[in-house]
Symmetry: C2
Subunit: 237 residues, 2 copies
Amino acid sequence: MTRLRISEIFGPTIQGEGSVIGVPTVFVRAGGCDYRCSWCDSLHAVDSRYRHEWQPMTAEEIMGKVTELSGGQPLTISLSGGNPAIQDFGPLIRLGKTQGYSFAMETQGSVARDWFCELAPLILSPKPPSSGETVDWDAFDACIAAAVETESVMKIVIFDEDDYTWAREVAAGYPSLPLYLQPGNHTPPGPDSDAIDLPGIMTRYEWLIERALADRWFTPRILPQLHVLVWGNKRGV
Amino acid sequence: MTRLRISEIFGPTIQGEGSVIGVPTVFVRAGGCDYRCSWCDSLHAVDSRYRHEWQPMTAEEIMGKVTELSGGQPLTISLSGGNPAIQDFGPLIRLGKTQGYSFAMETQGSVARDWFCELAPLILSPKPPSSGETVDWDAFDACIAAAVETESVMKIVIFDEDDYTWAREVAAGYPSLPLYLQPGNHTPPGPDSDAIDLPGIMTRYEWLIERALADRWFTPRILPQLHVLVWGNKRGV
């Protein structure tokens, strides 16, 4: 039986960012990632030094936990990571949908899967220069193609002027993908600290709004991470 | 020539709340309202003691100002108030659409207009008990009927437990309207003060999330007022 490496399952809470902002959800966070972004805010699901915390779980076991948390009341399940696309979530999605649940997923778009068309929505988040990673655009385009029958959106996290310039160029290449811009959390949770710079985060959000509007760039939605504003770097909410 | 009473036109900024949260927009705020909510956060567009500040403007003059602000780059125009539905915004909407602009509008749903079908979206915000107002549900249903060919959503502001209970009952009667819940700003701008209680607003947002999730009420999106978090009660942003 196929098992998935799961870092954590928690909720119900609200989705704090992107196109499903504010939607009640249970998070299923996959362990493991093919990227190692410099400012990663989920290292506990990325860095292999945490892999002893990742549980191998079957689709049935995952849905059992989700159902326990939701009281059996169907809702949107948010697949997150790490990069959930490096594992096969197809059987979980098919099982959950038979029980009335729907699935949203965020991935950087480095690995395409045929089950992307089962998602609502697929959130593609290509990583900007400040991440230290380099986007494979052929793989990214394969992700879009795999999700062609469902709703896909693009979310770009922006930390600085270089990221902003990059986002404008990327967006120009994908005019039909609804776009979300999000200021980065420059104080992500670390091994020794959950301290967070909320005033700084709000200042960066305001900067991003002003930067885009000054360019008369009116197509993206510009949204913060609500969970960070409400709960800081606390995990499990 | 028909003129509209306009309280203010400002932007571009982002829409801070509801279904178009994060969308770049110019606000056109109508002067005048058929309600007088106890906690109104836009009294300068409601209380007739401010009517000397409201400018009579033609549709052409309004689009001229919007175009000046947007640099001629089409975007979403947010019609707000007061209650914009007590005036005839049909000619403005038709003029703006020929120039590539789209229109979102929020109203309490007390006055139906045939031009509601031109909006994208129409945001109906019936006022809960804490407002001191009483909803005319026949008028509200007429608003939904008038907008039948476009996207309508419902947004309910919640200040307390009574409002929450009321929102649950109202939502049950409109299962097909996408629903947004929003914590009220208990420190709205006053004649003598723009002071705001941000920690209290965040606490109320967290309460609302926990309240709905504890009831396993997973259908509404639960969103704060982003503009209040970023700019407090400052006007013109």
